[in-house]
Amino acid sequence: MLPTTRLSDGRRRAIVSAASVVALAALAVGCSGAESPTSTTSPTSANGAYVAPASDLTADITYAFWDETQKAAIEANVAGFNELYPNIKVNLDVTSWEGYWTKLQTQASSDTLADLFWLNGPNFQLYASNGKVLPITSEVDAGGIDPNNYPKGLVDLYNLDGVQYGVPKDFDTIGLWYNKAIFAQAGVDLPTNDWTWADLSTAANAISSALGGQGIYGVAGGMDGQTTYYNTVFQAGGKIISEDGSTSGYSEKATQEGLQFWTDLIASGASPSMSQLTDTPADQWFTSGKLAMFYGGSWARTAIAGSAVANDVDVAALPAGEQEATVIHGVANVVAANGHNIAAAQALQVYLASKEAQQQQGDLGAIIPAYNGTQQAFADSYPGVNLQVFLDQTAVATPLPVSKDSAAWNALEAALLPEAFSGSKPVAEVADDLATQMNALLAQ
């Protein structure tokens, strides 16, 4: 799906016309003219300390998120919440992914954020370090939320300087999706959970050379780190960014091996080139039956199950390099620091983190709920396909690499790495250059 289609007409005009300057000014006006709304509820909520509110608490709050496909499950959650708190009206505010972050930033600048909203890993630290979201410390102390109920690596993603700001509502890991029919046609053995990089490379090259005449490739990467090269970097024992988020890991030899993995696959013809993958992304190659294997998220289940290859696919754990690894990521519900009614927002946050609500999410949506033990519905949702690997891989999962301003160095990756993958410059040279520029950004 192309994110660009979601760019609203209004926003496009605002950016394009002479109003490029206006957009900036609007932001400026927004921050100078805004006043922080004051909390109107019990004194305990004013300083953010959580006490489970009385069931007759009357409030009108907004819950903002970006995924329209999850709306039904969220409405079911809200109905469950309203059985406990019938007088809290929850307004759902859905914004498309592209517009969500621009809107969020404008709202945060003018302290008009929704009372409760979704944050992802790359953006979390930016909002937490600027005091835009509230910690869940008091909710944990009051027993409302227990962080031990969720995958540990993912819980840590929403921890900044020892303070926890949210718990994941769902998670996703990466697996090796493959097309059994293409393997049979090429006469190559199917992938197993014990595969190594060498096994993948051998099979991919064999398929590309056997079926290349039909335009079929063995495997494909792409420029999306989360599904491709972050995984192989971690498998090689490298890292993208240091644990404290202060230095780049791209100058490390192991990291560069994780990048080289894709360069080699493209060079040998096992994978389409980066240009080809820009024109037609890996998941589309796969669902069109032109690709034998691709590194895809657990979320790809929905698209694959609705495609022409739906009955030919299965999924295995990612092939191991020096070690097994996969990237794990999940969204968290966070409470705005300047919300209208913090007590009500926290009550909803606590409810959405509960086993009951998470079970409901798992049963209704295409997501993997984060609460331990609620994931079986997802694993069973695609008969004949071993979705269990996405759950099992949490044992070797590394959280998506993030820092206080992830977007800035993500842009550097997008600008520099294509030359490494295409082979037009040595991987080490590009990665060292990337490390230098990234370190300069992180030092700011």
Binding site: D9, I15, V16, M223, T278, D279, T280, A411, A415
Partner: protein, 320 residues
């Protein structure tokens, strides 16, 4: 996209007509008698322009000397943004890309003149139908247009490379090869700007007295001669208007690039235009102070380009 398109075209044959009655100096005392009334009438429009255009320009100018926090709040950094800007290779690359784009789209102006004069052929059947046909791309949603062209340009499965392959040409990956990508976007820009240019030029053609053509025809002038010696010279005011508007719109191109290339394109970093560069720094990298400096640079570049065109128009625009 072309916000300027709604500006009224100058009178095609006599631009001075749009400037109001001649000798307006004589109106001086009269104006004094009107008092505040004229201002009251333009106030709604004027206040909009001041609040949404002039004031933001002033503010952007101020912010270009500051560094922004992600969520607002700015600190004065003097000329730092500007010294960084003039040493930033991305600035020159984006200016270069913008120029390439502009030049290619401007190639559409002669094409539009030719098509407009064909459509103006006396007693042409289905003339309105053709006019609608050429105008359709202009009113189509740029994002929808971009989606279709993305499919056409697709390197492996697009129809363009399929057709090229049939005649023995191995087409490139149009939208994902640095160097080709901006050309591909410009082709779409040219295509979608034709409709507007044809309508404006067609209106200009209608004001050329048909007697001139009849006289030339009687004198034995060939159709080509009539085109070059009557149509084009008398059309120059309209051509000038189209060129000015096209150049300004080209310098502001963002949406086509954004929609055709997509934000994960490997060729994008080498294909950024000025406004995309502004967007990238301001809204992706969160450097709003620096982005303000880029916005001022865009303002300056467009201002200079427009000024230069107005200066040069005396040499080629026929304004009797």
């Amino acid at each position: 996209m072309w916000a300027q398109a709604r500006a009224p075209a100058p009178h095609p044959r006599n631009p001075s007509l749009t400037r109001g009655p001649r000798g307006c100096g004589a109106g001086g005392p009269q104006r004094g008698r009107d008092g505040a009334w004229p201002w009251l009438f333009v106030l709604p429009l004027l206040s909009g322009i001041v609040v949404f255009y002039l004031w933001p320009i002033v503010q952007t100018f101020y912010f270009s000397f500051t560094e922004w926090g992600v969520f607002g709040g700015s600190t004065w950094t003097g000329l730092q943004n500007y010294t960084r800007l003039i040493t930033d290779p991305d600035l020159y690359r984006s200016i270069g890309n913008t120029l390439i784009y502009t030049v290619i789209v401007l190639l559409g102006v002669p094409v539009a003149i030719y098509i407009a004069s064909l459509l103006n052929t006396p007693r042409l059947r289905f003339a309105s139908f053709y006019r609608v046909l050429f105008f359709l791309p202009y009113i189509a949603m740029p994002t929808a247009v971009a989606m279709v062209w993305r499919m056409i340009f697709n390197g492996d499965f697009g129809i363009l490379n399929y057709v090229l392959a049939r005649v023995g040409i191995d087409g490139p990956y149009w939208t994902s090869t640095p160097g080709f990508a901006i050309v591909a976007v410009a082709i779409v820009g040219l295509w979608s700007s034709l409709g507007f240019a044809i309508i404006v030029l067609g209106a200009g053609l209608k004001t050329i007295p048909p007697e001139l053509f009849e006289a030339a025809e009687l004198d034995g002038a060939s159709p080509w001669r009539r085109f070059t010696s009557i149509t084009v010279p008398l059309l120059t005011p309209s051509i000038f208007f189209v060129v000015i508007v096209t150049v300004i719109a080209c310098f502001q191109v963002f949406d086509l690039l954004y929609a055709i290339l997509g934000s994960t394109n490997v060729a994008l970093p080498k294909s950024m235009t000025l406004v995309y560069f502004f967007y990238q720094e301001g809204f992706v990298n969160n450097q709003k102070g620096y982005a303000s400096a880029i916005a001022m640079a865009i303002f300056l570049v467009i201002g200079l380009a427009t000024l230069a065109q107005f200066r040069l128009q005396k040499r080629w625009v026929n304004s009797d």
